[in-house]
Amino acid sequence: MKKMFVMGLMVVLAAGAAFGSIVLKATSFSPSDADFKSLYGGGMAYGGELSFGLSKSLEIWVGASAFSKKGKTSYTQEETSLSLIPLSGGLKWRIRPGKVVSPYLAVGAEYVLYKESAAIGDVSAKGIGFIGKGGLLFQVAGFLGIDAHVAYSSCSMKTSDFTFNVGGLELGAGVVFIF
């Protein structure tokens, strides 16, 4: 996956992108799956995102984040731990490019790495989903900005016992390095 990301970035750079940014962000994740909510609830996820402008308003972006949380089994209340690593990428459309405040909308695909450990057994899984988000970029200096966004993702996982969704709603903010 990392190799694919690097290759994608190289493609964009080779295309002679005129605009790019790197975002380091923290998001509050609220899962949409009721069982997820019940067992773990929401929490903070941390990640980053890299964007390149394909045109004045259109960018291509890739990102990665990590979410981990401890919970308890449903009846015996034994400790469990969950970690999610969503890898995402897609297109971002900037509504007012070049302005101090630049809203944007983005859609993309998500590839989620899932791992859960518990007394009743460990499970690792992978799933593909989608993500859509909207946000604002405050360009506070020539190369520095602040990103605020809301995103919604959906990624269904299937194990031998259950099918569940690891997506949900994110409210996040981050520091943007513009180049």
Partner: protein, 813 residues
């Protein structure tokens, strides 16, 4: 020593008052001399007869240990209150009717021979009876249970045919004798063999059978042959060649007869009390002798062992008593009790009527020579009467008796030779108020009668054709091949059958009480009639509790129980006062048919004056046992049996019935012992001389025995035990868990329950899967379990002694 002298002096003084004036003590000893003695202790006589000639009322003759061969005839009678007494001093005072045989020489192999100048029918070695040589040989060792061959065709009244066994060459059997149970087997008989035809396998005998065709030697006849030297082919057998006076014998151990005391019957020994009054005979052992008591009055025979009597004991006259005596091994009848007010009490009469003949029994009420009277007010009391060729006790057909009493006897093992008989049998007799009560009659089990589909015709109490005037009450009858109590036709009149416990087998003809013919005046009431055994009867069904095959007697207040088929209680319908249901016998397996508390037969009988007097409770009980009453059927004294001690013990938590303690009982007696647990306890097992967990248990006292009932505190199962199956999950993985919960059982208060143990039950396997401390949350999780699986668990409380209690079972689906 001083105390002894004082006691002796007092005894002398007492004797002086008791004995009539002038009473004389005489002494007889094997070392004495009639010529040189004077009958004193210092100079005893040699013969008892010498003393008998001298004795007068009140005199006593002391007979010292030893062998005597004489028929003692008292010269005169005693008087009321002043017996002429003959007392055996010692345990081995033999008064023999035997004669010794000496001078044995080898004959062939193990067979020895000697000369005997007289005819005899019994041969003894060291006081033990030997076996007359026969074919087939005796294999049981008991001549009252002989081996027979069975005929194969009807030989009529003069011959027996057996194509299977009679394959010897012609003339082989000439000169022998035949013992046979011909035809329907109502009697056995012996005949001389007149000829033998090998081609037709036929033995001709004489004289011819003179009875009806029922007695013909048909294909069902049983026989053995004897009285021929060539048949002497086994240890213990003997043969007398009457022509030459030579006796041949094979010792049981194959040894030399000269090393043993060999005696034969045919002598004269015993006491002749005929026409004498108030003679007392005590403590003697008679071998093949006689006690003659015809027309005797007030005589007393006590503690006498009268073995192998030459002619049986005939008592007539009046007021004679035979008590605490043994009369055994008679060829025919053991005792005839005729006359008036004669009593046979506490006697052990056994192994009689080897010849299996009709009108012979262990004890016969009456004797043909006194026709038409069979006697009046005679009694048979507390006797044990067993092992006989035909009937146990009987009346003489055609003779009437009156006011006789047969009570508290035990009668068993009748019918060893003949068929169609009973423990008590009467035919063509007016009982005149004779009472048969409180007897136990059992094991009447003759051979099969093929003419009747192989049933066995043996009843407990049997009135066979034309009887009247008997009262039969409080008797117990069980294990009879035929009927328990049989009131046969055509006439059983004015017979009162009350409060008997009749346990029918359901086999043979199988009814507990069977009645046929005219029954005018006959009443059946308060009887407890039960079928327990379960064999199929004559009509291939189980027996009836009461079966009236013809006329119907008056019947009321009877108790019925037939667990085998509830439809065969009374073929004429139950009376309105009938009681049905399980009578709750104390121990039917141990033949204790008394009633346990809660029996429906308790307090449900009718009050019958003279019969149920002294009943306990609101009304008499049904059957022979009155719960709480003091009278029980059966002999009250078996003096001849050594006592054995039964010690009953219990562990903590219960008691026994009878209560714990030491009981001195007759040897051989079977006792039914029940374990009774206290509240919160359970009987677990017997230990000591009993084992297992059967309750009650029957203990047979063939030796001193100690039996302990063990109990266990009941550790009750946990209360409110439940189980559910729950899902236990993470986001991605699931498992199912059986969740078991329970509560402590308050019934276990006082026990130190420290934990609970959980078992999983899988088929017959019980596997411990966990423990929960009693102080913890009473909950157990069994994981994982299949989503669709059904699991069964048992939860038990465990004490600090690691004893596990009863299980609470939980099934989780």
């Amino acid at each position: 020593m001083n105390r002894f002298r004082l006691s002796a002096a007092l005894a002398v003084v007492c004797l002086a008052f008791v004995l009539p004036a002038g009473a004389t003590e005489y002494y007889v000893s094997p070392s004495g001399s009639d010529a040189g003695g004077d009958g004193s202790q210092g100079r005893p006589w040699r013969t008892i007869q010498k003393a008998a000639n001298a004795m007068s009322a009140g005199d006593t003759c002391h007979v010292i240990d030893g062998e005597y061969n004489e028929m003692v005839r008292p010269a005169r009678s005693g008087a009321a209150g002043a017996y002429i007494s003959f007392v055996a001093e010692g345990q081995s005072v033999y008064l023999n009717g035997t004669r010794p045989i000496t001078g044995w020489t080898p004959h062939s192999g193990n067979i020895w021979k000697a000369s005997a100048g007289w005819d005899f029918g019994e041969l003894f070695v060291d006081k033990q009876r030997m076996v007359l040589a026969r074919w087939p040989n005796l294999t049981s060792g008991d001549i009252y249970r002989p081996n027979f061959y069975q005929a194969t065709a009807n030989g009529g009244k003069t011959s027996i045919i057996d194509s299977v066994h009679l394959t010897q060459p012609g003339g082989f059997w000439n000169g022998a004798k035949i013992f046979m149970v011909p035809g329907w087997g109502w009697t056995a008989d012996q005949r001389d063999v007149g000829g033998y035809d090998a081609s037709s396998h036929r033995i001709s005998f004489s004289p011819a059978i003179s009875f009806s065709d029922y007695y013909d030697a048909d294909q069902y006849s049983l026989y053995f042959l004897y009285d021929k030297l060539s048949l002497l082919d086994a240890p213990s057998e003997w043969f007398l060649d009457r022509a030459s006076g030579t006796v041949y014998f094979w010792l049981p151990d194959g040894g030399n007869p000269n090393d043993h005391l060999i005696e034969a019957s045919g002598g004269s020994g015993g006491f002749d009390l005929t026409d004498r009054s108030y003679i007392r005979v005590a403590g003697f052992k008679l071998m093949s002798g006689d006690i003659k008591m015809e027309n005797a009055t007030g005589c007393l025979v006590e503690e006498v062992r009268h073995l192998f009597p030459a002619a049986g004991l005939l008592v007539s006259g009046s007021d004679n008593v035979i008590t605490r005596s043994e009369i055994a091994y008679a060829n025919y009848t053991g005792v005839w009790l005729a006359g008036t007010r004669n009593t046979l009490s506490k006697c052990h009469v056994h192994h009689c009527n080897y010849y299996g003949q009709t009108f012979n029994a262990l004890v016969v009420l009456g004797h043909r020579k006194y026709w038409p009277s069979g006697g009046s007010r005679n009694s048979i009391v507390d006797c044990s009467l067993h092992d006989t060729g035909r009937d146990g006790v009987m009346t003489v057909g055609g003779q009437d008796i009156s006011d006789c009493v047969i009570e508290h006897n035990e009668i068993y093992n009748a019918g060893l030779i003949a068929k169609d008989l009973a423990g008590f049998y009467s035919t063509t007799t007016n009982g005149g108020g004779t009472v048969i009560r409180y007897n136990i009659v059992h094991d009447i089990w003759p051979k099969e009668s093929p003419q009747f589909g192989s049933v066995r015709l043996g009843s407990g109490i049997y009135f066979d054709v034309t009887n009247s005037g008997f009262a039969v009450h409080h008797n117990v009858v069980y294990r009879t091949a035929g009927y328990g109590i049989q009131l046969n036709g055509p006439l059983t009149l004015n017979t009162l059958v009350y409060n008997n416990t009749a346990v029918g087998s359901g086999g043979g003809w199988g009814d507990a009480i069977h009645s046929a013919g005219q029954l005018g005046g006959t009443v059946l009431a308060n009887n407890l009639v039960v079928i327990l055994d379960g064999r199929k009867g004559w009509d291939n069904q189980l027996g009836w509790c009461i079966n009236f095959s013809d006329d119907v007697a008056v019947y009321h207040h009877n108790g019925y129980y037939n667990p085998l088929t509830s439809t065969r209680l009374n073929n004429k319908g139950l009376e309105g006062t009938a009681v049905t249901g399980n009578p709750l016998f104390t121990c039917s397996d141990g033949n204790d048919f008394s009633l346990l508390a809660g029996s429906p037969m308790i307090n449900t009988g009718a009050v019958i004056p003279g019969i149920t007097d002294g009943y306990v409770g609101a009304a008499p009980d049904l059957g022979a046992y009155e719960r709480g009453g003091s009278k029980r059927p059966g002999p009250r004294d078996k003096w001849w049996l050594p006592s054995q001690i039964l010690t009953l013990q219990t562990g903590v938590g219960g008691t026994t019935s009878p209560s714990p303690g030491a009981y001195t009982l007759d040897q051989g007696r079977s006792v039914c012992v029940a374990a009774v647990a206290d509240f919160h306890y359970r009987f677990t097992n017997w230990s000591g001389d009993a084992a297992g967990d059967a309750n009650p248990v029957t203990v047979t006292l063939d030796s001193n025995k100690t039996v302990k009932a063990n109990f266990q505190r009941i550790i009750y199962p946990p209360a409110n035990a439940t189980g559910t199956k729950v899902l236990n999950r993470t986001l991605s993985k699931a498992e199912f868990v059986s969740v078991l919960t329970w509560e402590a059982n308050s019934e276990n208060t006082g026990l130190n329950i420290v934990s609970y143990k959980i078992y999983r039950i899988d088929g017959n396997a019980r596997t411990a899967i966990g423990t929960v401390a009693a102080t913890a949350e009473l909950k157990f999780l069994h994981r994982p379990v299949g989503k669709d699986a059904t699991s069964t668990y048992e939860i038990v409380a465990v004490t600090n002694e690691l004893k596990e209690g009863e299980a609470a079972s939980v099934t989780v689906r």
